[in-house]
Symmetry: C2
Subunit: 419 residues, 2 copies
């Protein structure tokens, strides 16, 4: 299966590098944030994209990739989904950024409230952070308490209370943010005991998906501990479903794992790439939520809302969730079998639709980096340190082609590191 | 000029009210934030918009309005500007939300850096708040100090350090935010003396545009005091040009008023309604800026950046800034003359392109509310409590029609309140 008799691929990233050189002069770091190319493979990976369709995209040098990042999550139906683009275009023709909301805002709020079992109301923003930060404020307003408990290493956005890194952060920003260890019930219970009656909320992702580490699904004891703390101390449970939402369960990832939060935040895949975020909550929080001001220049934009309605409609109609689970499972099985054949020990973590792969017992990521570089140069874009994403546009043939590419990449890892 | 022999217009807002009733069930408050209809005229104004073109829009009941809010700022070339929409469509056809930035990000960063005199670099976000909050962090990182000085009543966004209102806010959020009075040099100098060597930055808008009050252009002594504090205490000056940017001067509103900040934040009008924000800064801050993490799921979106490049191109080519100044001046003169004719004392404040009108010596806003309601029912959408916006799509005929509408509205104010 390994195409060893093929010439070694050697794609050029020259045009990406030219653009990056120009960028570094006028943009700090050239490319910042999640797309920072130094996190993937400096010099050995695409830095700029120019075109995308379905589950594939093309970089500035014309290299084609089967995509496993989906724009870092938003693209759940494949790039340029025809039906979503048509719905967006229809709305755009009438107007996007207006003085008032469009009727589509009411339609979408009703749809989300009926879709998410515990939701009685909904608000919208543009960034995931808009919603996690607002949800924190709602919890503080509702409980009239300050403390927020979150899992160590969890990513909840870029606002000062949670941004990874410490540049420009002052101690007051995190004075009442306290961390417990994911899947460690005792660490949560101990933390809760310390802060007892000053806990406004526990904020969690539906499962733990830190960068540079395996994803971890929640264990039952841990979920039970969260419920226990919520009941005992009368605090709220905020679900940050920004990364996983609309990929694991159409009604929210809490349904996939079997629990019920008080507030849930969505963004990324909600509108297949159009900028939108939402927060839903239960009826008992509705009055408190009116007391926390929220607005944004583009937040009533109708086009992203029309795109969201169509994205949800298609996911439901075509059972896109099952499709991604199926293709993700096919990918995981193929990768596991291939690695095993090469005598490599890997860990496939995360739900199948949001998979991740690490080399077991590796602390320096050299194998991960080499593996992703080898996949990328053969046309499959995967990330060495950040979980991947499936879309409904990935076909069996795409997955199988990827497994074949990975097989060669595993062989290269074996040769370089273990022979 | 006053069409008193015309039948009293009596537009229906029934469809808006129906939508609002549905909205209230599933959205806290029904409509939140800047579009909150209770700020304009409950029951007497449009709540939902369905279509817009040029300087006009239509509400859910089919009522047509000459628009003086421009989506609360973003629409600077008129709704549905053909050239901007074509540029956006061309980019959208290739891809919007991708794994990497597009080449357009480099083009736009180069354009902004060449456009803004003091700018050496640029980053992008989606909301104005994304940029003001990040700029604060850059200032804190660069100076390794905590204190931020801002004008009382200034609006800098919705993050906890600056959001209007106190719902969900804890004292730590604003522990190092201190306010001075706009255009009061002594209040700034006194405040600076208290915090002396712990001041990271002064943040200001280019001119003061609080809601529920006249706009105030900066006086020379006040600008001199800011410069003095910056030099004496070695802090930065952050310009929040989100509301005024791209309407007063193409190179940034600081050029209109004749000063130079260290960092400037833009959003609203930058891409004629497409969601985008930017922060530019001087070379000496470039290294510090790389130390403050920033990212967002949709922040590398190419379509808004393509729209921004085209918006700037058109504003420059057609001298849109002069056009808005001219039409704003025509509007102000017409309103002033009409009010005077009716024996009403009004205050027209703000730069002509971002005008505002209040009734002099009025503390309860009853005249403002009645005036705006009368204008709205005759087809000119103006806001009683928030500054207005001109676009390059407003023609002499639109302005003159608006002045005629205002003339009738002034007459009604006179009759109701002063006869």
């Amino acid at each position: 299966m390994s195409p060893n008799n093929q010439p070694e691929p050697n794609p050029s990233f020259a045009r990406s590098m030219e653009l990056f050189e120009r960028a570094r002069r006028v943009i700090p770091g050239g490319i910042y944030g999640h797309a920072n190319p130094s996190l993937v493979g400096p010099g050995n990976s695409p830095y700029y994209a120019t075109k995308a369709s379905g589950c594939r995209y093309w970089d500035a040098d014309g290299n084609e990739f089967i995509d496993y990042m989906c724009g870092y999550g938003p693209i759940v139906l494949g790039y340029q989904n025809r039906e979503v683009e048509e719905a967006a275009e229809k709305q755009r023709h009438d107007g996007d950024c207006l003085n008032h909301p469009g009727p589509v805002m009411v339609d979408l709020a009703e749809r989300l409230v009926s879709l998410v079992d515990f939701a009685d109301w909904c608000v919208f923003g543009k960034n995931g952070s808009d919603m996690t930060t607002w949800a924190l404020q709602v919890a503080r307003q509702h409980t009239q308490r300050k403390k927020i408990l979150m899992a160590e290493g969890a990513y909840h956005g870029i606002d000062p209370w949670c941004v990874p890194g410490h540049g420009g952060i002052i101690e007051e920003d995190r004075a009442h943010i306290h961390t417990f260890k994911w899947n460690d019930p005792q660490s949560l219970l101990d933390l809760a005991q310390i802060h007892a009656d000053d806990i406004a909320a526990i904020i969690t992702t539906p499962y733990h998906h830190p960068a540079f580490a395996d994803s971890e699904l929640p264990n039952n004891d841990f979920l039970a501990a969260i419920k226990d703390v919520r009941e005992r101390h009368g605090c709220l449970w905020i679900l940050d479903d920004i990364r996983a939402g609309f990929r694991l369960h159409l009604g929210g990832s809490h349904c996939y794992f079997g629990f019920t939060p008080d507030l849930a935040c969505y963004s990324k895949a909600i509108a297949n790439g159009y900028p939108l975020a939402a927060c839903v909550g239960s009826e008992n929080l509705k009055i408190s939520s009116t007391k926390v001001f929220l607005t944004g220049s583009f937040w009533n934009g109708t086009v992203a809302m029309a795109a969201a309605l169509k994205t949800i409609e298609i996911l439901e109609r075509d059972d896109g969730i099952s499709r991604m689970e199926e293709m993700g499972t096919r990918l995981r099985n193929g990768l596991s079998q291939s690695a095993e054949r090469h005598g490599l020990s890997i860990t496939c973590s995360g739900p199948p639709a949001i998979p991740f792969l690490t080399f077991s017992n590796e602390s320096n990521f050299f194998r991960s980096q080499h593996f992703s570089t080898e996949c990328i140069k053969r046309g499959a874009f995967i990330h060495p340190h950040h979980n991947w994403f499936l879309s409904t546009a990935h076909t069996e043939a795409d997955i199988d082609q990827t497994i074949a590419i990975a097989d060669t990449a595993f062989e290269s890892v074996k040769t370089r590191f273990e022979d």
